[in-house]
């Protein structure tokens, strides 16, 4: 086969020198490397006693944000569900009735909003799709469970609690035009 480019270089040398042939040199060299590591500081993260910080834009469990007055931002437009490659999001839209203005920001809201966490692949497309700053992925980790049904997260889990608000200000800074 002729050479296709002029940038190639043969890198594998199969000829062994005498010192390589008698095994011992490489063995001792190898053992020297491993014994150095023996006394090195260990890199292990002793989970769960220690936790590794997760980056701000980590794609973990979702939350549905409320605005500063405590009203749900989601308007049940369904974009997140359409954008979901795993088809893990289901929602039912409802009209806001009088007196609920403090609960829901827009006139339409999601009366049911479920994410199947077992289906979800945490790709982040729903967050990207949301036009209302309502759904965010967070650095929280969805914990394993023993029952399959428990992984269908409804609004009770997803909607953020006002006393435990989640700071998403660092998440989408890149998407804002400076």
């Amino acid at each position: 086969m002729q050479s296709l480019t002029n940038r190639s270089k043969i890198v594998s040398n199969k000829k062994m020198t005498f010192s390589e042939r008698i095994y011992l040199v490489a063995i001792i060299k190898g053992m020297f490397i491993t014994i150095q590591h023996f006394f090195k500081k260990k890199v292990t993260l002793d989970y769960p006693k220690m936790k590794k910080p997760v980056v701000a834009n980590y794609r973990g469990q979702h939350i549905l944000k409320r605005d500063d007055q405590g009203a749900e931002r989601c308007t049940a437009c369904g974009l997140c569900a359409v954008a979901c490659p795993a088809e893990a999001i289901t929602m039912v839209a409802a009209e806001r009735i009088k007196g609920e203005e403090n609960l829901y920001r827009e006139e339409k809201y999601a009366s049911m909003y479920e994410i199947n966490m077992l289906r979800c692949i945490f790709c982040g497309l729903c967050e990207e799709a949301c036009p209302k700053e309502a759904i965010f992925l967070t650095d929280m980790i969805v914990s394993p469970d023993q029952q399959r049904d428990k992984f269908i997260y409804g609004k009770d889990i997803l909607v953020e609690k006002m006393d435990k608000r989640y700071d998403t200000s660092k998440r989408q800074t890149h998407l804002l035009e400076k």
Binding site: I27, G30, M31, T34, I35, H37, K40, K42, T44, D46
Partner: protein
């Protein structure tokens, strides 16, 4: 007489317990050291620093379902781990653990049986040990097991030759087959500054013996009979529960015994330079000798692990080539040289 009998019986029990304990904690040590070699932490959740890990493993295995495959030879299937365990435990009978002790005025040797043919006894039991693996692999009626068994037996047979030849050189030098005499021949100093250990007189023989010991105990780089990536579990693929435990245990006991034999034959056993000059009380000396001996054993156990977590393993045919085409000729040359030196010594 009675004192001696009681002493021997208690020695048997103590050594039995020590063998088991060391084997158990060798598994722990292996896991911990392997972790340290690999920048990891190693077992840490079972008890403080994971010290209860071997007990957890044992406890789990005892209560695991005992599975005998329908296609297996049931009797042999059960017999195999027993043979492996039994031979491993019996080998230690001839090892002299330390200098004689004095109890109630009687001089007692801390050795279960001071046989004249101690070395032959060790070699004999080691070669019976392979039957455990062979029978286990064959009776499982599993192809991977069978291949493991075939590998194990051919490997053992090939490496036993070189091992025997390298030991022969020692026997020529000391003129005895008894381990006690071999140990006691290693007091004093050699060339003025080295301890009079056989390793300095027989460096080549030691290297050969060490390599063969690795092969005999099925340790990396010679762990072909059970190499995971090729044969799944090798000869013990079909074994579950404590029968598997026996096989794994036997491997560690064998490691312990072979470390003891290496220390005895090449590293002066319980002797250490100036030890018997510093301590005059025989019982204290025995205790110190015991400690020295175990320190040496532990070093070799560590070496086993160190090598295992460094080297890749051989291929089956390369292993055979190494055994037959390299180690045996070198061992013969070593033997001839030793003989020649011995004859020359007589003339000079």
């Amino acid at each position: 007489m009675e004192v001696e009998l009681i002493f021997k019986i208690s020695l048997v029990i103590v050594m039995f317990a020590i063998s088991l304990g060391i084997a158990a904690y060798a598994t722990y040590g292996e896991r911990k050291f392997a972790a340290w070699f690999q920048d990891r932490m190693g077992p840490s959740n079972a008890g403080p620093w994971g010290l209860l890990q071997p007990i957890a493993d044992g406890g789990k295995m005892f209560f695991k379902e005992d599975f005998i495959p329908a296609a297996s030879e049931k009797f042999l299937f059960i017999l195999a781990p027993c043979i492996a365990m039994l031979t491993a435990l019996m080998t230690s009978a001839v090892i002299p653990w330390t200098t004689n002790v004095v109890i109630m005025g009687q001089i007692l040797s801390v050795q279960v049986a001071d046989l004249d043919i101690g070395i032959l006894y060790v070699l004999g039991f080691v070669s019976i040990g392979v039957y455990g693996i062979m029978i286990g692999g064959w009776s499982s009626n599993n192809k991977y097991s069978l291949m493991g068994a075939v590998r194990a037996s051919s490997q053992m047979i090939s490496y036993e030759l070189a091992m025997g030849l390298s030991l022969l050189a020692i026997i020529i030098m000391t003129g005895s087959l008894g381990l006690r005499e071999i140990v006691d021949g290693q007091t004093g100093s050699f060339l003025g500054f080295l301890p009079n250990w056989n390793v300095f007189k027989q460096p080549l023989g030691f290297l050969l013996f060490l390599i063969c010991a690795f092969a005999e105990t099925n340790r990396a780089p010679f762990d072909l009979p059970e190499c995971e990536t090729e044969l799944v579990g090798g000869y013990h693929t079909e074994y579950s529960s404590m029968k598997l435990g026996f096989f794994l245990f036997a491997e560690y006991i064998n490691m312990f015994i072979s470390s003891a034999v290496i220390a005895t034959v090449y590293f002066g056993g319980y002797h250490f330079p100036y030890l018997n000059r510093m301590i005059s009380d025989p019982n204290m000396l025995a205790a110190a000798g015991f400690a020295v001996f175990f320190a040496k054993i532990f070093f070799f156990l560590f070496l086993y692990m160190w090598v295992r977590w460094t080297l890749p393993r051989f291929r089956y045919d390369q292993l055979m080539h190494l055994g037959w085409k390299t180690l045996i000729p070198v061992a013969v040359i070593n033997l001839l040289l030793t003989g020649a030196v011995m004859i020359l010594k007589d003339y000079l």
